[in-house]
Symmetry: C2
Subunit: 523 residues, 2 copies
C-alpha cells in the first residue's frame, strides 16, 4: 500500500483566510489536535513575516507531539542579500525546526513582474537558499509557487526551478497551484511530465478558486505524488486551500492509501469542529464528510430507502469519519420522520394516530414563521409532548420588564430585568442586572425559579446564536434565536422567533428550562 | 466549438437542501433569473410529489422565457400500475412541459432493496414509462439514478437500463452520481465505457459528498457528455449538487466550451446572490468565482504583487463573472492597504505620515475586540477620518433608555425607547416605540435628529446582521452587529461590538448616521 504524507498548512496558509486571525495559544491548541489526527507535518507559520509566529515556534518546542513535525515556512533569499545575512533565512534557522519549507518562483511572469530579477538570477536564489539551509542540517521542502501556471507559460523554465532545488538538496518538491485555476486533467498531465525530469519525491498544494482543489490534489496522488498539502476545513486565502477533511477520507476510503489510521480518521469531525471553534467560524453544515448535513436525509423517498438500507443514499458509513445519520424534520417530511422522532424521544405514538398529521401541520406552520428545529430538537420534543402528552407546566409568567439605560456616550449601558412568575400559585418577584438585556432576563428568570427547582443551577448555556431572517426589514426584521444548553450529562437545543430579540430569546430560554425540568422528572 | 447544454435543478434537487423551502412565487422569480443567465433547462419540480409544484407548472406557462425550457421531473411508473393509470406519469403529462425528465434505477442494489422487484421488471418500468411519455409527444430525458455505483456493482445491468431507455426513445441519458462518492478518474473511465455501448447523447449529474462534484462534472464533459446538470451555489441535499456557478466559468473560461454568452456570464455573481437572497441563506463568501473573498487579497506580499500585475494572484479577471478585486484591511495588512483605502476614501495621506502606523495599531486593537471592517467600510472610513481629519460631530448623546415589557404570556412585549440628544447646544428629547428594542431606539434617534438634518429621512436600513462572538459565554457573549444602509444613491456598512446587543446596535446606527451626514456635506 503506497504511503502518502499529509502536510497541514492551516496555521500558515489557512490563517490567510478572510476573517481569520489565530493567537499563539490558538496555534498551539490546533497543533496538538493535528497531531492527534495524525498529520505528518504542521506548517506553523512564517517566522520572518510575523513576530507572533516566532513566539509560536518557541512555545511549540514544549509540545510533546506523537506523529507531527512542526515546519517553518519562508521565502528564498532576497536578490540583494547574502544567505548568511538574509533576515528570512536567519529567522527560519532561528525557528529551530527539523524541516523547513522554502517557497520560490517557478513562473517567469512572477520572476519578471514581482521579483524584478533576470530568470537566471531566480535560479540562483532558489539554489543558494536551499543549499544554505541544507548545509545547516535542515530537511528542506521546496514550494514551487505557481508551478502549474509557470509550466503552462514556459515548461522548460518551470522545470529548471525544480532542478535547481533538487540539485541544492531539497527533500521534496511541492508543485503549487497557487492561483487555484488549474483543471484536474492538467494537473495529472503536468505531474506526469515533471516525473520524467526530476527524481526527488513530489508534493501537491492546491487552491479552490475553480472549486476543484480536492480533485486536483487527488489527481496528483493518482499520478504519483507522495505528499499532499491542505488545511482543515479548506481554510485559506480567497476561496481556500485544498480541504484535508475531504482529502483524508478520499485517500483512505476511496483510494485505499495509507496516511492516518482508521481510529484517527474516526475523529475527523471532531477535529473539523475544533478548528472552526478556535477560528470562531460557524461550521459549514454542508461540508463533505464532516458537515452536519452530510448524512442528513429529508425527502420522503430518501428517508424510506435509507431506513431499508443506509448504503442506498450514503456513500460511506458516517461513523468512519465520526459523523452520523440524521433524519430531518421539515415540510418535505412525511409521517415516517415524525414517527422516527417520537421513537427517539420515547413518546408512544401509533403510526395511524390522527395527531401525526396535526403535528406535521403545526411544524409546517412554525417553519413558515421562521422556526427551525434542525438545531433545536429540545423545542421539537416539547412541541410533540404538548401535542401528544408527557408535558406539564412548571411555572407561569406574570410579566417581565427589561430596561437598558445609557447615561453617558462613552459608557456601556446598564441592563436590568425584573420578572414576576407564578409557581403553583406562589408569586415570585425578582430582579437582576446583566451584561446585556438577554443576560439580565436569563439571570432574573433563573433566580426566580431556582428556589422551587434547585436543579436549574446545573444548566449552562453553551451556545447562543442570533440569525436575522429577511434582513431587508432592517432593525424591524424578525430574528431567530437558537440556544444550546447542557447540564453536565446531556445537551439540548431550543429555538425562539420574533421581531423582538428579547421575546425570541425568552422563548428559547423558557423551552430550555422546561426541557430540563421534564427530563429531571423522567429520570 | 462543442456546445454544452446547461440543465439547472436548483428548484427541484436544490430545494432538497437542508433549511430550504421555496414558495411558488420564489420559484417563478428564480426561473426568470435562470433564463436571464441563459441556462437551457430549468427543472421546476416534481408535480407528482407536491401540490405546490403542480401550481408552479401552471404559473410558469405565463412566464415569457427567452432561452430556458421548463422541465417536469418524476419517477418511472410503479410496478403495480399501468402507465395510463400511474399517478406520477399522469401528473407529468398534466404539468404540460415540452420536456420531461424521468428517473429510474440503474443500481441492482436499489432495484432489489428499494423497489423490491426483479431486475428484469425494472427494465420494463423504464422502458414502458419512457415509451408512454414519448408517445404523448414529450421529449424525455432519462436520469439514471446511482449510475456510477450501479456500474461498479454490475456494469452489464447498468448498461441494460440505459439501453432500455434509449430503445424507448429517450433523448438524453443522464448518468447520475446520486450518492456523490465517485472519484473523478472513475467518472471519466465509466463515461468512456458507456459511450461504446449507447448512441444517445449523455448528460452528467453529480453530488458533492466527496467534495469533487464540480471536477466530476468537468471530467464527464472532457470525456464527451453534452449536458451538465447542477444547481446555483451548489444547493442540494446533504453536501449539495454540482455547483453551476463554478461549472459555468470553468466550461467557458478554462475549457472554451460554448454554453452561455460572455455577457450572461458577467451576471453570474448577481444570479448567485439573487438565489441566496430568495433562499434566505447568507452568501458563502469563500465561494469560487462569485464569493466576496474570491478575489480578495490580504497578505502584504500578495497585495504588493497584485498591485503590480493582477494576474499574479488572480486566475481570471474577476469582471468576467461580475466579481471584483478587493484589498482587505486586517492585522495581516501593511501600510500599503491603509494607503490604498485612504486613496479610495479621498483622504489625503502621505505614505510616510506617522498616522499610518497609528491607524494600523488602532485597527489591530479593534479587530482584537471583535470589530471587523471587511463588511463595514463606512465605520472604517469614519475611523480613518477621525484619525487624520475630515470628521466632525453632528450631535452628542445625553442618554437613552430602552424598555421591553411583557405583561401576558401570550403577548409580544412592547418596546419603547426614550432619548436625549444635544445638537449644537440644543437639547432634543423624544420617544418612540418599535417592533423590538433596536427598532425602537433606531426610530427614536432618527426622530430626534431629523428636525436638524432632514436628509436623514433618505436613509434606509438595508441589512442588519447579528453575530455572536465566542458563543460559549451564553447569553453574556459579545455580539457584533453589522448594518448596511443606503440613501438611494450609495450604500455603506457599519459595525458595532458589545456584550450588550443594544449598545452594539447603537454604535452601528450612530456610524451610519454620521457617515450619511459627512457625505452630504462633502457633496
Amino acid at each position: 500500500m503506497r504511503h502518502i504524507e499529509i502536510y497541514d498548512t492551516t496555521l500558515r496558509d489557512g490563517a490567510q483566510s478572510e476573517d481569520m486571525s489565530f493567537s499563539v495559544e490558538d496555534k498551539l491548541r490546533i497543533s496538538q489536535k493535528l497531531d492527534f489526527l495524525g498529520v505528518h507535518y504542521i506548517e506553523g507559520g512564517w517566522p520572518g513575516a510575523n513576530p507572533k509566529d516566532l513566539l509560536f515556534f518557541k512555545e511549540a518546542k514544549k509540545l510533546s507531539l506523537k506523529t507531527s513535525k512542526i515546519v517553518a515556512f519562508g521565502s528564498t533569499r532576497k536578490a540583494n542579500h547574502k544567505v548568511s545575512f538574509d533576515p528570512t533565512l536567519q529567522s527560519l534557522l532561528h525557528a529551530g525546526t527539523e524541516v523547513v519549507t522554502l517557497f520560490g518562483k517557478s513562473w517567469n511572469l512572477h520572476v519578471k513582474d514581482v521579483l524584478g530579477v533576470p530568470l537566471k538570477k531566480n535560479l540562483e536564489l532558489i539554489s543558494d537558499s536551499i543549499a544554505y539551509l541544507h548545509s545547516k542540517g535542515k530537511r528542506v521542502f521546496f514550494d514551487a509557487e505557481h508551478f502549474f501556471d509557470g509550466y503552462l507559460a514556459d515548461p522548460d523554465y518551470a522545470i529548471l526551478t525544480l532542478g535547481a532545488a533538487e540539485k541544492a538538496g531539497a527533500a521534496c518538491l511541492i508543485l503549487c497551484d497557487t492561483n487555484g485555476g488549474t483543471m484536474p486533467w492538467q494537473v495529472k498531465e503536468i505531474v506526469k511530465a515533471v516525473q520524467k525530469e526530476v527524481k526527488t519525491p513530489l508534493g501537491i498544494h492546491t487552491h479552490n478558486d475553480a472549486e476543484v482543489a480536492v480533485a486536483n490534489a487527488l489527481m496528483a496522488v493518482e499520478a504519483g505524488v507522495s505528499q499532499v498539502q491542505g488545511t482543515i476545513n479548506g481554510l485559506g486565502e480567497r476561496c481556500g486551500n485544498a480541504n484535508l477533511t475531504s482529502i483524508l477520507p478520499n485517500l483512505k476510503l476511496k483510494m485505499q492509501f495509507d496516511c492516518i489510521s482508521d481510529e484517527q480518521l474516526s475523529h475527523l469531525q471532531e477535529v473539523s469542529r475544533f478548528v472552526s471553534e478556535i477560528a470562531n467560524l460557524s461550521p459549514n453544515k454542508y461540508q463533505a464528510y464532516v458537515g452536519n448535513a452530510a448524512f442528513a436525509h429529508k425527502g420522503g423517498v430518501h428517508v424510506d430507502a435509507v431506513r431499508k438500507n443506509a448504503r442506498t443514499y450514503e456513500h460511506i458509513a458516517p461513523e468512519k469519519v465520526g459523523n452520523k445519520q440524521r433524519i430531518l424534520i421539515s415540510d418535505y417530511s412525511g409521517r415516517g420522520n415524525i414517527l422516527e422522532k417520537a421513537k427517539e424521544y420515547k413518546i408512544p405514538l401509533a403510526p395511524d394516530h390522527p395527531r401525526v398529521r396535526e403535528i406535521l401541520h403545526q411544524l409546517k406552520d412554525l417553519e413558515g414563521q421562521g422556526y427551525q428545529f434542525e438545531g433545536a430538537e429540545g423545542s421539537l420534543e416539547l412541541m410533540m409532548k404538548k401535542a401528544i402528552g408527557g408535558y406539564r407546566r412548571f411555572f407561569k409568567l406574570v410579566g417581565f420588564r427589561v430596561i437598558v439605560e445609557k447615561r453617558k456616550e462613552e459608557e456601556t449601558p446598564i441592563s436590568e430585568a425584573t420578572i414576576v412568575v407564578d409557581v403553583n400559585g406562589q408569586i415570585e418577584h425578582t430582579a437582576a442586572i446583566g451584561n446585556g438585556p438577554v443576560n439580565a432576563l436569563d439571570t432574573a428568570l433563573r433566580k426566580a425559579l431556582q428556589k422551587f427547582y434547585p436543579s436549574l443551577s446545573e444548566i449552562k448555556l453553551l451556545d447562543y446564536k442570533v440569525r436575522v431572517l429577511a434582513a431587508q426589514d432592517g432593525s424591524a426584521s424578525k430574528v431567530r434565536v437558537l440556544s444550546e444548553s447542557g447540564d453536565g450529562h446531556i445537551k439540548w437545543g431550543t429555538v425562539g422567533v420574533s421581531e423582538n430579540i428579547i421575546e425570541a430569546s425568552w422563548q428559547a430560554l423558557v423551552d430550555s428550562i422546561e426541557y430540563k425540568l421534564l427530563h429531571d422528572e423522567e429520570v
